[in-house]
Symmetry: C2
Subunit: 299 residues, 2 copies
């Protein structure tokens, strides 16, 4: 068994005050798959164009990420270009070229359909629903979303939420979705829809995990240098679901640890541009930083 | 022995989306004194005008806060009027009337001068220096500041910093003062000046304590309703130094707990307008919420 991850595969051009990279491997499905692959075998569902570099496919398949579900369509790969100013919590999207992603329809083969751990990365809720319709025996479905879908496809998104176990979103999105400013209240309101847990990501301040048993605060690792925040949220999600898969349970104690692993993986991601740092990291590095998190909060 | 607290005593008019109060007891010295008084006897240095209500004096003196150093000058008390929009991290100052505060010159009597725990609430660095010149045997000096002084009195502020043990400031101020965006780096740079610890307050996300031994993350208590954030930072400071006074030590383990007590006290403050909630709270309530913080971060 593996984790099924569905979402975007992209060529990213990223500029931050500390540098610039052009058309590097990116996309929510990629960041989350690489992050989750520290803990679990992954099967990725996505689409690329004819121009997608072979070396990028190799990077993924070498890491226990099965690419049977990554289809190649005529045309160009999805491209995203973004720029971060000094306040890296705010990013400017310079350019989004959907390209082949526009025709993306997630098609699951029999093996994909049988998987019970599913991460629906941030894509249109309609596509997330199409995936859920095909999955035969879901045990844990985790889903991400964004302000665009809250604003333009709220009904479809509500339909998704009624079928997922855990929702990940950032503070701004939680406020937008619930129309509640206080995050503790926003989390509670989302739990009332039947979600098992809600993870509210707070950028450089960490994330909170809201459950019926209580709230848990996973801090962000206090890095002195952040080179590129792209993919931090997707890395968090990957580490989070990866750890839950490994444990085979998702009660509050496991959710807490999963949140810390999410923070750990995300902290490595942002240390370098794109996936550079994450691809160098070992499971041992992850465990070591996990231990450091204990020091960070124990009193 | 007691804690010496120097700073503003004010009549606050506050509007938030949840209500409005007019000319209630406020000011940085008041919030921090009330907060610290759960842990220690306090001696307050400040100034009020002829119009300052007797009942407000009574509230303070009934709480183990010595007012010998609170002088009354001809004229009106310092008034502040502020408004918070939904995002309570951002406040609009509607009106600041310095009144008698303009002539404030901290004068310490022999008893004040002998105190060894000092909190310099947010006032002009020149006044903070005047206090430090009078204190004869300081053991722990904690100081707060604000963007105004960083922008307009940086040299004087640097002089203050060279004489204090612990600096409290918010994330924006830490960035402004150090010209470093990453807070871990800003904290490190401030420690390099010889400070024993730096506390960076992050509003609704909590606070980080930076020391040479490491960083500690004190989360904010996840409140579902925040009625009025006024005084949260000063309450944190009061709880923080109060606990350190109680322990008589300020090594990393005590600093961590002090940060949690700071967060606990601040969380009560913001539950109601002005000092309303804080004045109802017992030491037992504080201990109970302190225990809840353990649940919030332990994994």
């Amino acid at each position: 068994m593996a984790i099924l991850i569905v979402g975007s595969v992209a060529l990213d051009t990223i500029e931050t005050p500390l540098g610039k990279v052009i058309e590097v491997l990116g996309g929510a499905a990629v960041y989350s798959a690489v992050s989750a692959s520290f803990f679990a075998p992954i099967k990725l569902i996505g689409v690329v164009g004819e121009d997608f570099p072979e070396e990028y496919l190799k990077i993924l398949s070498e890491r226990n990420i099965d690419l049977t579900g990554l289809i190649r369509l005529p045309g160009k790969t999805f491209r995203w270009e973004g720029k971060y100013l000094e306040d890296m919590n705010i990013r400017q999207t310079i350019r989004t070229e959907l390209n082949v992603f526009e025709q993306f329809r997630p098609k699951l083969n029999q093996e994909h359909k049988s998987l019970s751990y599913v991460f629906l990365a941030n894509i249109h809720p309609e596509l997330q629903l199409e995936v859920l319709e095909q999955v035969e025996n879901p045990q844990l479905v985790v889903c991400d979303t964004m302000n665009l879908w809250i604003n333009t496809a709220r009904e479809k998104l509500e339909e998704v939420l009624s079928q997922v176990d855990i929702l990940l979103l950032n503070d701004e999105e939680a406020r937008l979705l619930t129309r509640e400013y206080q995050l503790a209240r926003a989390g509670k309101k989302l739990l009332e829809r039947g979600l098992k847990a809600v993870v509210i990501k707070r950028g450089e301040h960490g994330a909170t995990i809201h459950t019926r048993e209580g709230i848990f605060f996973a801090p962000a690792y206090p890095l002195e240098i952040v080179k590129d925040p792209t993919g931090a949220g997707d890395s968090f999600a990957g580490g989070f679901i990866g750890y839950l898969w490994q444990e085979g349970r998702s009660d509050f104690p496991e959710l807490k640890k999963a949140g810390i692993y999410g923070s750990v993986v995300a902290s490595f991601t942002v240390e370098e541009f794109g996936l550079k740092r994450l691809l160098e990291v070992s499971r041992e590095d992850i465990e070591q930083r996990f231990e450091e998190f204990k020091e960070l909060v124990s009193f």
